[in-house]
Amino acid sequence: MSFLPFARKVGAASVAALLLGAAPTALFAATPADTLVIADAIDDIVSLDPAEAYEFSGLDVVNNTYDGLVEINPTTLELEPGLAESWSVSDDGLTFSFKMKSGITFSSGNPVTAEAAAKALQRAVKLNKTPAFILTQFGWSVDNVDTMITADGDTLTLKLDKPYAPTFLYNCLTAGVASIVDVDTVMQHEVDGDMGNVWLNTNSAGTGAYVLKSFKPNQGYVMDMRPGYWRGDAKMAHIFMMHVPEAATQRLQLEKGDVDLARTLTPVDLAGLAGNADVNIQQDVGGQIYYLAFNQKVEQYKNTKFLDAMRWSVDYQGMADTIMKGVVIPHQSFLPKGYLGALDDLPYSLDIEKAKSLIAESGIKDPHVTLSVRNAADRMDVAQSIQNTFGQAGITVDLEVGEGAEQLKQYRARQHDATLQTWGPDYPDPNTNSSTFAENPDNSDEAKNTGYLAWRNAYDPGALTAESQAAVLERDPAKRVEMYADLQKKSRETSPFIVIFQQARNTALRSNVKDFYTGGAVDAAAYWLVTK
């Protein structure tokens, strides 16, 4: 048979060709000078339509391709005018007028007018995707949005249903869902009444520093800079995002110089990079908080002594220094650091003796907790530490490990006993967390107020609901800060929530990469300032 010798020759030739091909790779190991190459895990992206995107990675894209009426300065994280030049509020606090900047265009070339801005906000409300509530909480609905949001000349008028704190509106207008989308362009690509939602998944139609060139789910995206950006041209001509799910792989790529930035490294990788002169680690906080929640349908979780005992049974600092090193910082209030009125103090620490005596006072014998945990490595580590320290205090903890979406369903149906969860704020205003942790207008099962974490835990915050609702209407900023401080204190002393950490964000950058801002707890990443 002549097949084998032939195959042998072909095989030898192929192997030789492959080896030859592999040889010159050293030549290629550098990223192009005009391109920022990023390795990140971006499988959280559900949509790149600003009216729908509300995951971290999707909002990064939105932040660089669109702008809002009001923006957050990426370097100072302060509010600043965006597409609106100035604004004013009527005496009754119900009508806000925004004067639009002139001369700004969308990537299509269409001018940004007050009418275009009105259409964009109306579209987000009418599409009614998940983040739409950030806008509809001002009293806007599919039926009334055309009369509540109107344009006249260069002025955009927003009418609200209540005299909310002006900062509340401005903060919400910086959210991705309030981005000004070029509706005229988008509607040309409408399919089955989707208002261009599907088209916006692989295209952008905004005023941002970049234009989306391609997006492949779970693979990556490419963005090109757009000359004439109103905040100044982006320094890098292209952004090349590569979805690299494995952190160790990201680290290798960064060390080799095949990527400029790696955004999802583990504590082990960060420690490994510590001595590398070619790499800098940039640390800041994210908005996500880690918390334990106890369902008050279970009688023992209504016992304040027992709740208190558990607060003294968590090794906050120990976990942050070891298993969660670099990934979190200890944090014990429901507003993340960086938010208006956030409390940074840490009143609780691990104190087994105190916990034991509190349990004795509570009158609960041999307490037992079933803790639901997502099957992710970091969550399991935290849960095991809690199981251990609770055990020392005399509380038996059973871990119920499951898949994230499945546990979320259980949580929303109030079927859990206790759960370890994270919560990311939706917009950079304290109301985002205050409303969910400290408000529960109707604690009945029928209410199905799944959006309120208090409801999910059958927790009736009593007077806190009204206090939180008053804080969002408080027009004096200093008073507002005080009100949120008070709410956080009361919540951490009485609620069935134990906030344990705030997310820390570590970005590893090649040493020549400068001016990368992640947006901290309040905003998404800004690519347009980066140089290398």
Partner: protein
């Protein structure tokens, strides 16, 4: 003479062929529907809620209901299945819940990456595995045999995740002999996306067809490590099987006869024995190939390789059933296709097989 007296006319060649084709299509259809039914119904008893996984924590009950209705998840399960099969038979595998892209288009993007990797891995695995197995079989107990056994055992037993990372660390990180994760360097990847005609979706072939040899070399440098890793795993399997097939053949009388007649040992092994080893070996290689074509999830994850295995796994984790079912159909088709192909090869290798 009546027609009843005539002997039955032998079925025409064309008729036989048609009947066979018809039978094959019928079997395929049943296999596919069975495959779909199993995947579909398993997916429905899994507690993950696809709606919640795409809408996330903040979704209101009204939004959840609206999405459920839009996706047809509020209908009876059998109706959903019926609709799905009907659409699938018309070439519509549905739209991915998560990405809102037609599943067929997504698979067309992911499958070539897997095909390219699996093919190269199988070629490498076979080229090394078969001679290694033969060598081991001809000198059982020798050092060569021990080495082949040890190397094979390592391939079986070492976690692919660890091997992949070590491979990357050594050959990419330290030595710099190969390209890193992904199918191309960033610069080439952008050129590939926007400047090169994608005939097949396989980077090696498309860059070669477009005559872009720098890019081809870069693609080779990226694929060589994951392909070698997967090739090593299939080599471990192929060499063990080759060894045992060959040992079996070498004990047969016709081999003794050939040796007694003074035939050179090389010829005895590589021609006479190999002819008979080929038949079961085809099955082994085909099985190993189709296994790799399902997509090697861990390897694809470490090497940031956008392949079918990762696609199906990612989809499964968010209960994106159209994507999972679409992927399953492709994997099923691959199995069936490779089986048919190896049947064909049997006939070439063994004239007795008709």
């Amino acid at each position: 003479m009546t027609s009843a007296d005539l002997p039955d006319a032998p079925p025409s060649h064309l008729g036989r062929l048609l009947r066979q084709v018809g039978k094959t299509i019928f079997t395929l259809l049943i296999t596919f529907i069975g495959l779909l039914a199993v995947t579909f119904f398993i997916s429905r008893v899994v507690p993950t809620d696809p709606v919640l996984s795409i809408l996330g924590e903040r979704a209101t009950e009204a939004q959840i209901e609206a999405t459920r209705t839009k996706l047809g998840l509020d209908r009876p399960m059998f109706t959903q299945f019926g609709i799905y099969v009907w659409d699938a038979l018309h070439g519509d595998l549905g739209t991915s819940i998560r990405t809102k892209t037609p599943v067929l288009a997504e698979i067309a993007r992911y499958f070539p990456a897997t095909l390219e990797l699996a093919t190269l891995a199988t070629i490498l695995g076979t080229l090394v595995g078969v001679p290694a197995g033969v060598l081991a079989a001809t000198k059982p107990g020798s050092i060569m045999d021990q080495v082949v056994r040890l190397v094979g055992l390592m391939g079986y037993s070492m976690p692919v995740f660890w091997l992949g990372l070590m491979g990357l660390l050594i050959f990419y990180g330290k030595l710099g002999w190969v390209g890193g994760p992904g199918r191309l360097d960033a610069a080439f990847d952008m050129m590939m996306q926007f400047q090169v005609t994608q005939y097949t979706g396989m980077v090696l072939i498309d860059t070669a067809l477009s005559g872009n040899w720098d890019m081809f070399a870069n693609a080779v440098s990226h694929i060589i490590l994951p392909a070698s890793l997967l090739g090593y795993l299939s080599m471990a399997y192929i060499s063990r099987m080759t060894r045992s097939f060959m040992m079996n053949e070498l004990g047969q009388e016709y081999i003794t006869t050939a040796r007694v007649k003074g035939m050179p040992e090389r010829r005895v092994i590589w021609v006479h024995a190999m002819k008979n080893v080929m038949v079961p070996l085809i099955t082994v290689v085909a099985l190993s190939y189709s296994f790799l074509l399902e997509g090697a999830v861990l390897t694809e994850t470490i090497f940031a390789w956008p392949g079918l295995g990762r696609y199906i796994t990612d989809a499964l984790l968010v209960a994106d059933m159209p994507a999972v079912l679409g992927g399953t159909i492709v994997v099923g088709a691959v199995y069936i296709g490779i089986n048919m192909f190896s049947d064909l090869l049997y006939r070439l290798a063994d004239p007795r097989a008709k």
